[in-house]
Amino acid sequence: MTTSGPPLTADHAEAYSQLVTCFNEHLDEIFEFEIVPSALQSASAGIMRDGSSYGASKRFLAAAFLHARQVFQSSLEVGKEREGVSLANDASKVMLLYDPEHVTAANFRKRYLRRAKDQELFRRELVFLTSILTSPLHRHAKSPTLWSHRAWVLQQTLPAMAVSDVESYFVKNMESELDAILRAGERHPTNYYAWGYARKLFRMMENLYLDKETYHWKPEIPLFVSSSAQRLKAWCMRHPSDTSGWSFLHDFLRLLTNEPRQAIVEDVLKYAVHLRLRNESLWVFVRIILADATLEKSRRDELNQLLGNLAFAETGKDERSEFTLCATRAIAWVNANQASM
């Protein structure tokens, strides 16, 4: 345990070296990293470890970062080519662990990956990104820099995944992308950039699916889409105050056919009514889906009717509970904004 007095700093190079070792032990598997309060760390301890979960103090990370930055800057000097790139690769990871918005580090990694043209390195980049995006760190889960970096990596590697002859490779990768999004969405609620990435992911998948190529994974997609829809619906129901989750579900519904689309909306309505939920995010989802053109007009009319019946069966029209107000306001909004088709 540290005692009061001048803060003891870890040796910068030692801290850096420990982190690099940690990363290199997990090139192909997701690890977890968290900041531990420095009171829990003795002066000599470096990284704490429990399986593939690691912890270090902010001070330790800062020391590692300062060293990493030096290594990074000097490694990019002319004449250090191969050795320099390897050093910058390690250093940039440490930099992003400390500062997820470090655009220079992220853009170096794009250059490095692009030059290497090695699909295995792209795959490992996704593993590294999943690790830091889903770890209990302060701001990584919602980092616009990390998510846009991931989108770039995905753009480079998804076409290659599409032509892999490993069984179910494409769908398995789509699943693990969705896993990462949901976990990051839990780490940081209303995670605008994680859910923005989700939109990009499925648009890319859709473009490949609609391609004239006869990719062998195409027959697996309908089941993947419908099971993803169920996962998303369940996630939203577990996080009814997460407006980003509901917003993505709304966008995702266009990938389904009419029957499952309507079924999901009906499930959500029944859920909202039976639990008498008042979450604004949930009701915003309900009012939009019952008014816009995602569902056909006839189906919207059916569901609007259903909502009215269910809501007032629960409470009676005169009850002025918060729940009734939510339902009434949503129905009024729907009536005022109903799309014509």
Partner: protein, 250 residues
């Protein structure tokens, strides 16, 4: 893009473009060309840098900086405007790209860009105004999306958008002013995202800009399109900028 836009705004505020030209021959044009090269010729939106991430923030940034430098003609404004139109959501709001989640910050960028282009007619103003007015919470503060906590910076993103739409009165200005003032650290003077939190420069800027829109006495009039003093933007643009203060605008 973002750093470049900040640089241009600073130069504009300090009236330093002549000095830029002295130090960097053709400096203004070079900046303009850098920005213009980031426009996607197919979609009309803008990337943030060579790696291509597109976001309406960059589109707004481009319009902001180019218009301040009188170089908006370097880009395809009509195409960019059509792109923004494609980002209009059913709820009246806008996001980073088509069908993205509506977000007060992104709404500011889209409405700001349309204002610079003189195309506010393309906005569903009542619907958007309604969405924005729903951002006000019982404590008077504003959030940026449904069910989010109040944050003083949304006093800017939401209010400037309403100002551009001439709908400032759709928010309870007195309650909002009260909320913003509660965010100030009475000893240090800076503003935090909400009362009691740590202050920072970012939230201080937007608190003051919000108060200016609300006619708080003693503040320079802020330009809702640029988040800069109107005296500066008038000088740069050489004309009166659209959008007004709480008593009503042009």
């Amino acid at each position: 893009m973002l750093y470049t836009v900040s640089g241009v705004q600073i130069l504009a505020t300090l009236d330093a473009f002549d000095e830029l030209e002295q130090r960097v021959k053709g400096g203004r044009t070079k900046i303009g060309q850098y920005i213009a090269a980031l426009q996607d010729p197919v979609t009309g939106t803008f990337a943030g840098d060579e790696w291509g991430e597109q976001d309406t923030r960059f589109l707004y940034g481009a319009f902001n900086a180019l218009s301040l430098m009188g170089l908006l003609h370097l880009v395809d404004v009509d195409k960019a405007v059509r792109y923004i139109q494609s980002c209009a959501n059913f709820d009246g709001g806008y996001g980073t790209s088509p069908r993205a989640e509506s977000h007060a910050g992104q709404i500011f960028t889209c409405v700001g860009a349309l204002t610079i282009a003189g195309r506010l007619d393309l906005v569903n103003q009542d619907k958007l105004g309604a969405w924005l007015s729903e951002r006000q919470l019982k404590n008077g503060g504003l959030n940026g999306r449904p069910e989010k906590k109040e944050d003083v910076c949304y006093s800017w993103w939401v209010m400037s958008s309403l100002a551009m739409l001439s709908k400032l009165h759709w928010i309870d200005g007195d309650k909002l002013s009260e909320f913003i003032l509660q965010c100030q650290d009475p000893e240090g003077g800076g503003f935090a995202d909400r009362p009691g939190d740590m202050v920072d420069v970012f939230h201080t800027v937007f608190a003051l800009a919000g108060l200016s829109l609300l006619n708080y006495p003693g503040l320079e009039e802020v330009d809702p399109v640029y988040c800069m003093p109107k005296s500066v933007t008038k000088r740069c643009l050489g004309r009166s900028v659209a959008g007004g203060r709480a008593q009503g605008g042009t």
